[in-house]
């Protein structure tokens, strides 16, 4: 019996020492990224719209805030944002990514592989494009709901429901199209009087 107990304790000690607490995060100590914006002009500019439910101070309601940074590469830009953030971020609830000004086919490939390499990012995240800078869109749009990211997802779902068809613009679907060297069309976002609007219908080429 003592042998059994010792071997059990050893197994658990090994288990815990090898992988314990590796991904431990407290839910209230995170910024949840709702939307990611990408722009390109002699370097990548990443904008993260985050939602927070508070922190050490007692917040009454969840609030959103956009952080952005520019770097030579996507990784560089992201590192700079991390330095600006007062607490950790989570991409678990990211719902959309906006490809803004300057993101052409070549940059789009890099952005998509960057997103795919980030294991925390949900592959059913929706991709959109915009004529204006994604940073401007995320910073200047007045959210109807909690944040612009969730507004965009709401617009997409509403449009798909109305037309009974899908935009086929998730990260997974778009990366597949790129792999198969098919043409990529993303739904287009515009800013009308501080409000985000979605142009085109589901399955239309935007």
């Amino acid at each position: 019996m003592i042998r059994k107990i010792i071997s059990l304790i050893s197994i658990f000690a090994l288990l815990f020492s090898l992988c314990a607490c590796a991904g431990y995060r407290e839910i209230d100590s995170l910024f949840f990224v709702s939307a990611i914006g990408f722009d390109y002009n002699d370097g990548y500019k990443i904008s993260l719209e985050t939602v927070s439910a508070g922190g050490n101070e007692i917040e009454t309601e969840p609030f959103s805030k956009t952080y952005y940074a520019k770097g030579d590469t996507l990784k560089d830009a992201m590192q700079k944002i991390y330095k600006k953030l007062p607490k950790g971020i989570s991409f678990d609830h990211t719902v959309c990514a906006v490809m803004g000004k300057g993101i052409k086919k070549r940059q789009l490939k890099r952005v998509i592989s960057f997103l795919l390499y980030n294991k925390e990012i949900n592959i059913s995240l929706s991709l959109f494009c915009s004529d204006i800078s994604a940073n401007t869109l995320l910073l200047n749009a007045k959210p109807v709901s909690l944040c612009v990211g969730y507004d965009i997802l709401g617009l997409k779902n509403e449009n798909e429901k109305r037309n009974g068809a899908s935009f086929n613009n998730t990260l997974f679907e778009t990366s597949d199209k790129i792999k198969e060297e098919k043409s990529v069309s993303l739904p287009k976002l515009k800013l009308k009087e501080d409000t985000v609007v979605l142009e085109g219908k589901a399955n239309d080429k935007a």
């Binding site: 019996m1 288990l15 815990f16 992988c19 314990a20 607490c21 991904g23 431990y24 995060r25 407290e26 839910i27 209230d28 995170l30 949840f32 939602v51 927070s52 439910a53 508070g54 922190g55 050490n56 101070e57 007692i58 917040e59 309601e61 969840p62 989570s90 678990d92 609830h93 719902v95 925390e120 949900n122 909690l146 969730y150």
Partner: protein
């Protein structure tokens, strides 16, 4: 005193003084000498006040001696037993140890002059509780009677339910000093001999100075001694004991405790309640299904909550995630610490409520549950979602009282594993316990045999309670006996 050996000498004064000497330190020991009828032959009467009914001693022994007439000259023990004593149960012995045992058990010892044989008269009459409804096994409908501390009365309650000569009751004494009476009860045509002999073997091997409760026996005879799961059943209700006997199980009645043991005990029995059989089968089945669900809720809710809010946030719907995050903001402790603390507080409240006088229970509930809980949430010492998760798990656990020990241990172990390893840890521990449970047995019967069997016919009293017309056979472990319930 237990080591006193030898026989009576036949010398009245010597034997009488011997017993007076043995019990000289006991103030409750009563002794009296009387003449038998109008002869000069003496008899000494000895008993313990409180253990023996004084009125029975007066009527059955003393009065019968005083009123005896036309006695022969060669008055002996056999004549006294046959013609003088009024008592219904009389035995004779020459052995001093037997006499001491009988006196201690509430019998009256009659020592007769010039006789090497003594008479013990059954005059047991200590006060016992009434046949009340047991607090731990209340039902809305069905019989309201429960066992009490008298084994004889408990056996009578069982016999009232099963009026058949097939009901066998064997007795033995366990405990070197307590000499507690233990009765093995079974229906001889239904009970498998293998289980009965295993039980007898284990009971005979018990080496202890005293048995004060049935749990002393449970711990000695149970399979999986270190398991948190019960492998010996217990009940305070004669109807449950009778139902178990009808299934071919064995009941062990221990004197001095209102809890009767039943065995073999299978995992599915944890979820069965006698009330399932006293209400409509649909309601009974729904309730049983609910108990399985409550067991899962009880062990899993706090652990899954900790795992999901600390490792797998992506599994939460966004709005729910934000609500939890908002309510947790400002709380200084980690989810894991918070959850374990709340589970311990819940157990403290349960333990306190058990030990508190009933009149204070309402106040304890208000102060402990409402005021402390509400104040702790308002002061942001704990968060409301964690409190809800632990409270839900605690309340759900009360629906399966037979698994109380297992639930408390499993809940804490699963929370710790989830806090350290997330859902991976949760499933690892759950898997480990599944392996443990599926490896258990109760008196040679597979503990989860009923759950493993895919045959629907054999599931009719496991996950659901089928109508009585459908339950034609007894449980599967009773394979070598009469299977049909109608025989």
């Amino acid at each position: 005193m237990n080591d006193i050996k030898g026989s009576l000498t036949g010398d009245f004064d010597y034997d009488f003084s011997l017993f007076c000497d043995i019990f000289k330190n006991d103030a409750m020991f009563r002794k009296r000498t009387v003449n038998i009828g109008n002869t000069k032959k003496k008899a000494a009467i000895m008993f313990f006040d409180g253990m023996a009914e004084t009125k029975t001693v007066d009527d059955s022994v003393i009065r019968s001696f005083r009123e005896a007439k036309d006695l022969p000259d060669d008055l002996n023990c056999e004549y006294i037993c046959r013609n003088i004593l009024y008592a219904s149960e009389i035995s004779t012995t020459e052995n001093i140890a037997d006499v001491i045992g009988a006196i201690m058990n509430g019998d009256t010892f009659v020592l007769i002059e010039n006789s090497k044989t003594a008479v013990t008269v059954d005059t047991k009459g200590f006060r016992t509780r009434g046949v009340d409804e047991p607090n731990n096994e209340r039902v809305l409908s069905g019989p309201k009677e429960g066992f009490n501390e008298s084994a004889v009365l408990n056996l009578a309650l069982i016999r009232r339910k099963l009026q058949t000569p097939d009901l066998a009751v064997e007795s033995l004494k366990i405990g070197k000093r307590s000499k507690t009476s233990v009765f093995i009860c079974y229906l001889s045509s239904l009970c498998p001999e293998k289980i009965l002999s295993t039980l007898k073997d284990r009971l005979n091997k018990i080496d202890i100075d005293g048995i004060l409760d049935s749990n002393y026996i449970t711990e000695h005879i149970k399979d999986g001694k270190f398991s948190v799961f019960k492998t010996v059943g217990s009940t305070e209700r004669p109807d449950i004991a009778a139902a178990r006997l009808l299934e071919g199980r064995i009941a062990v009645v221990v004197d001095g405790t209102p809890v009767c043991l039943t065995l073999p005990f299978l995992f599915c029995e944890n979820f069965q309640s006698d009330e399932d059989y006293y209400v409509n089968f649909l309601l009974g089945s729904a309730k049983r299904f609910l108990r399985y669900f409550c067991f899962f809720l009880s062990i899993a809710v706090p652990a899954v909550f900790v795992a999901v809010t600390t490792y797998h946030i992506e599994l939460l719907p966004t709005s729910f995630m934000l609500t939890v995050a908002k309510l947790r903001s400002g709380v200084p402790f980690s989810s894991l610490f918070e959850c374990i603390s709340l589970i311990i507080i819940f157990e403290i409240l349960k333990e306190t409520a058990l030990r508190t006088p009933q009149s204070l229970n309402t106040a304890l509930g208000i102060v402990g549950g409402l005021i402390i809980g509400q104040a702790a949430v308002s002061a942001r010492i704990i968060s409301a979602p964690t409190l809800i998760a632990v409270a839900l798990s605690g309340v759900a656990g009360l629906a399966v009282p037979r698994l109380n020990t297992a639930i408390v241990f499993l809940r804490i172990v699963l929370v710790i594993a989830s806090g350290l390893l997330g859902l991976y840890g949760f499933f690892c521990v759950l898997f480990f316990y599944f392996v443990r449970v599926f490896g258990l047995s109760s008196f040679g019967v597979d503990y989860t045999s009923s759950l493993k069997n895919p045959d629907f016919q054999k599931q009719k009293d496991i996950l659901i309670r089928a109508p009585w017309d459908f339950m034609k056979t007894r449980p599967t472990f009773n394979f070598n006996k009469i299977r049909s319930r109608k025989k």
